[in-house]
Structures are given as C-alpha cells and as structure tokens.
Chain length 431, copies 2
Amino acid sequence: MSGVVDRLSLWYDYYARPSHLLALAAHFLSGPRTRTFMTLGLLGIERPFFLRRVSATVPSALLLETSMASFAHASGTENLSPASIETTDEVVLTGDRPTGPLHLGHLAGSLLRRVELQRRFAQHVLVADLQALTDNAGRPSHVSEHVIEVIADYLAVGIDPYLTTISLQSELPALAELTVLYLNLVTVARLERNPTVKAEIETRGFARDIPAGFFCYPVSQAADITGFRGTLVPVGEDQLPMIEQSNEIVRRINRLAERNVLPESKAILSAAPRLPGADGRKASKSLKNVISLSASPDEIRAFVASMYTDPAHNRASDPGNVDGNVVFAYLDAFDSRTDEITELKSRYRRGGLGDVAVKARLVDVLETVVAPIREQRTRLIADRHYLRQVLREGTLRARAVTSSVLNDVRSAFALRPRRVSRRRMSLGFSE
Amino acid sequence: MSGVVDRLSLWYDYYARPSHLLALAAHFLSGPRTRTFMTLGLLGIERPFFLRRVSATVPSALLLETSMASFAHASGTENLSPASIETTDEVVLTGDRPTGPLHLGHLAGSLLRRVELQRRFAQHVLVADLQALTDNAGRPSHVSEHVIEVIADYLAVGIDPYLTTISLQSELPALAELTVLYLNLVTVARLERNPTVKAEIETRGFARDIPAGFFCYPVSQAADITGFRGTLVPVGEDQLPMIEQSNEIVRRINRLAERNVLPESKAILSAAPRLPGADGRKASKSLKNVISLSASPDEIRAFVASMYTDPAHNRASDPGNVDGNVVFAYLDAFDSRTDEITELKSRYRRGGLGDVAVKARLVDVLETVVAPIREQRTRLIADRHYLRQVLREGTLRARAVTSSVLNDVRSAFALRPRRVSRRRMSLGFSE
C-alpha cells in the first residue's frame, strides 16, 4: 500500500472526478501491503501515521465493499470475489524487455495473470530497458522508443498503476550497483552451466561472440528480483534456473551479513502452455509471426488467415489434426466457451469442419478480446504526458525500495549504508 | 581547477592559518584545469563566473610566483621548476585496492610519480574498494577497514588533496552503471583473451572458479578510466591490455553516439622496474615480504635483514651477484647517490664487500625515506575526521564528474540524461 496520497492525487489529476476520491481511498486501504517506506510527498507526512489514523476510523467491512465497487467501476473487472483481496507480505516481480509493442502471446502468457495478481499481492513490473540492450547494443534507440508503448500496453490490458508499481530499469541505479556487487559472488563456471543462458546462446546464434552483458544476465536478473524484495516470480519452466541462481546469491548475501537481509523467491509457474506464432514457430516479433494488442480488425483477419493449421487437411470433409494447429491453440487461450471448443475439436478431428469456419470463429473471438484493449490503448497513447507520469511515479517509488535493499546488501559487504533520500530525485525521462 | 572555494575552506578548516588563503587562492588559479563543473557549494555560486572575475584582476606572473612559494611551503617539495606547472586538458587517473596499508613498493612504483603528476595535470586517485571485493568477497571487512589507512598513506607521502581528487569507488554509483552498460559492448571471448586477466587467473590460482566480477574486471576498469575522462594512466607494462580494452570501448561508444563523447587514454609507462619483495618474489602483502610506509626503525632493520641477496656470497671476500639481489634493487630505488651505488655494485661483484655492510647502508637510506612519512602518517591517522573529510570532498567532486560522463554515455545508448544534482549528495561513509 505504497504512497496512498500519491496515488489519489495522480488519479485526481487524470480523471478529475473528485467524487471518486473517497471510494478510492477506501479501496487502497483494503489493498495489499508493500514494504516500501515512502513518504507521502504531497502531505509531507509519513505513511504509517496517516494510514493508521484513517484505518482506525473507517469500519473495515464498509471499506471492502466500497473498494470493490470502486475497483469494478474503475477498471471494468466486475467478477472479482472479495475473497481474492488478501493482505500479504509477498511481493510479485515481473517485467518485459521493451523491444516492441506487446502481443497476444504476452496477454495470454503473463499480462492477464498480472491483472489478477495485482489484486492479491504487492506487485512490481519492471520495464527492463537495460536488459534489452544486452542484445540490442547496436540499435539502442530501438529500445528507448518502445518504453512508452509498453506502458500503454500495460494500462490498456488493465494493469492498474495504483496497484502495480511500474518502473524503468535504467532509472534505478541501485540495480546496477547490486549487479556489480553480485558479480563477485558467482563464478564464471556457474554462469556457463546456466541452462537458460546456454539455450539462449544457441537460439540467438551468438557462439563465442556472446556479449559479456548477456553472459552475466542471470546476475542482473537476480539484482532485479532481490532489488524489489521479490518473493513471487511468475515465469515459464525454462526460467527456473534463473530463480535458483538468484536464491543462491540471496543465501550467500545472508551468510555474509549473518542475518536474513534478503528473502528467497519462489516461481509461480503458468498452467497455460506458451502460445505459438502464426507459423507454429516460437512467437517472436523478429519472426513477424505475432500480432499486437492494438491490432485493427483487418490485421486480426490477416493474422488468423496466415495461421498454420494441418497441411493434410485440404477439404472440410478431411479429418484434421488439432495438435500443433495454431488456430486451436489461440481458441484454447482466448475462447471462454470451452464446451463448444471441445465439440469443435472432435468435429475437426472426425472431418467435416473446414479451416475457414474455425478461423472465422477465431477472428470473432480475437476481435472481442482486442477491441476494448485497442480502444483503451488509443486513448492512452494520445496522452503521453500521463503515461510518462505513471512511469515517473512508479520509478520514484521503486527507487526508494531498491535503494533500501542496496543499503542492506552493502552492509553485507561491510559498506556503509547511504541515506535514502526523501526528496523527489531527478529522473532522466521526465521533462 | 575544481571547486576552488571548497579547497580553500577545507584548508582553512584544517590548518586554521588565514594568512595562507590568498597565496593558496593564487596557487589554484594558476594550477591545472579539470573539466568538472562543480558548484562552489559554500558561496552558492558557479565556478565559471567567480573564476573569470578573479583571474581578470590578478596579474598572471604574480600568480605563478605566489603559487610556487605557497606550494613549496605547504608540501615541502622545494625543487619544482615553474616550467613544470602547465595548463593542460589531460586528466591522470590512478588508484589502489585498499586491502592493506601501502608499502615501499607502492612508493617507488607509483606514489612518488603521483606527487609529481599532480603539479602538472588534473589528477584523480580512486580508492577501488569494489574492485578489491572481486577477490575478497569472502572477507569484505578486510577491504572496508583499510580505506582510511590508504588515505593516510596518500597524504603522508605528499599527495595533496587540493591538487588531487581522492574518491571512493563504492560511493560512485555512476561507475557501476557505466560497467553494466559497457558489459554489452565486450564479448566473453574478448575477455578470455585479455592477457592481464589470464595472468592474474594463473597467479591467484582461480582455475575455473574465477568470480564473474574478476573476469569482468577489465570492463570495470574501463568504467573507472572513462568515468573520470582519464587520458593519462600510469601503469606497468603488464597493464597495457587494460588500456587497450578501455579504448576499444571508448571507440565503440563514440561510434554509437556519432560524436566523441569520451576521450581515448594513453599509458604513462614507468622507467623504474617493479620492486621485488624481501624474498625476491613478487612484492605482496599476502606473501608478507613487504614493509609498510610507516614502518618503525626496528621493522626496517628486520625487513632489510630478511632480504634475499646472493646465496653463493658466503664471505665478504667472495664475488657476489648484483642481479636479483633484493638489497641492490632497493638501493637503486631509494638511494639518490647513484655514483656511490655504481661503485658499491662493482666492489660487490669483485668480492670484498659483505652483505652486512650493504644492508647497513640500506637501513640508513630507508630510515631517511620513511621517517618523514611515518611522522606525517602518525599525525594524520590521529585525525580520522580530517581523513574522512578529504575523502568526502573528493568523492563529491568525483560524483559530479562521473555523473556527467554517465549522462554522455547514456546518450550513446539513447537513454536520456539525468540532471546532475547541485546539492550535496548523501554519502555512505560520512557521519
């Protein structure tokens, strides 16, 4: 529950509807707690005093009710049960490399989960522009241009900047300092054994020309996870070695410090399989087999038309294969009428259902999913000032958290803590 | 000419002799220029205005004369010629790993040269505590404890905090950020080929257990050199590959930025050979074959007595070997009566000069060298507040320089510059 007043004022600035303020305040008071110790810049007072006073005077049942109504109104997600609102010490960390607008694979694979997680836990989302530079150093503007696009994607799908702290990696110097400190705790041999690094080296065809930054990427990721005191990290199975590497560093730091300065983190594994690209290969912007979250109806039609199905399924009457069929993979991900999908699949397998019919259904489904995101995104991208403001507020909060973690880690290395500034610090990206 | 008023006030604080202030002001006005754009914190005004006004009203010949007198008085080096005072854009960078008090090998190899260089160029000396952690991560307090000792050594040998900016690596976050950015520009294969890293890996017996931080050490060193816009780096021949690595990164950054944001650096090679340890092996604190700059007369005698000479030279009348003879190596380094040394060497070679006699001479010579340093150092170490103050002032100046370099490098990566704060920033090591 970081910076309630910051959030209120931001909300007020943007929506300019004072009548929402009380409901919103109630909403945040019932929300998840983070361990940030932010000052409430606007009032010039510290969070604990303010919150304790307010929560003591408002009955909690009322709070919860008001909060639900306000949340449903604000972000259009009506079907959250009050039971899903918990107070917990867990901190969720996720992030994206801003190398282009996000696509439907991101939506199914991680974005929707974040929208759900933000209601239950403190959540940080890191726009990992420095990490994107590890294999884009030759074209850095490709990275910087996409930062604001990614923020627009986040907000358009329902990530709520009042529940989720969105920050920019290159504006968090503490993460670079943590990386440099952690590099002393990991051997070269250990990095060479990291299966994720091994696999990525093969995929990207670096051979011996791996940039050192890419090679050290598990260490930088450990800095990200621990820098936010992340305890829950939603990942794919292939990313588990990254969490293990991070926890090894955590244990080493805690041994050095002779107390638990950092928490270990756990993976949240996704049940859903990863969505393929239209051609059936791995979904990837560079392979041009994905579709953005703000695709037009025409783009959706073209995307679905290009989808790989079953090459042996020439006529509608032929029996067809559902496994590896991209159209069904997308229906599984986005069509909530699961009974009908099961029925469609068996008809397709038997023969008698043409690709044209299944694709037409998928076009409708995707249009239903994309239309509200497209609409929100168009509105958001027209107000870049607001998007920068969201990133700025989140990054300032993230600076406070990461600087305090850096102090703890510095103490393990017998380096003295620095004072964590209460003033608003200068950021590179604000005007 | 960074922060004239800072320096004056510091001087005033410590020596409390107001009559020196004018001479000192003149001294700094004729001294080397650095490119730091510091604010003069005490007056609250910016350097360019203040300096321009003052230099316009004082005749420059007078300035030079006063400055010489003041310098000779202040640090006891009477024999500098006015010709050695130059105005130049070169910036010298050197540094030490604070893993113990400095020893006589440091004095001969680098400290005396720095005392000379500070009169001719802007000079930065970096106390590289983070770099010392790359192979001391298991005992970090070993590093932090020695920081103040090293500052005392610097000042005791005549490094002048008004001419040389002394700063602490772990308090310069911009250096960590530069390291992380540069890691993207260097391949793993390139690091593996670095002869200095190769050699150090053998010397230290890391085999495959090299800490990644140590492996990436040339990149961190490039961050140090470029972070201060260093153009002259006094090094041994074995360190030349480090400069080459740094310059490769500089060229890469300048190509990315499409303008020269960073200068390349040149090595200043030492003519003097490296001093061996007492046992003839490489001088090293861990081998216990070195002697500190504040050694007592007894310690000097014991150190010289333990020196390796010529094992075949049993009696004074035997002919002896001068090459590889540690006593003569130290006489070459510290005895300025070179004619007498040449004569002694040929007598030793012929036979008729015993180890006892040569060692007695060396004891006298070392006592003459060490006595004033020991005296200064005892006085300085008793005033830790002043030593911390020196480090604090230097580190604040260094923060301004390194932050401005970071902004330039960020621009090459299409990252926006951050505002370089004019306020005094919080440091970890000040009370």
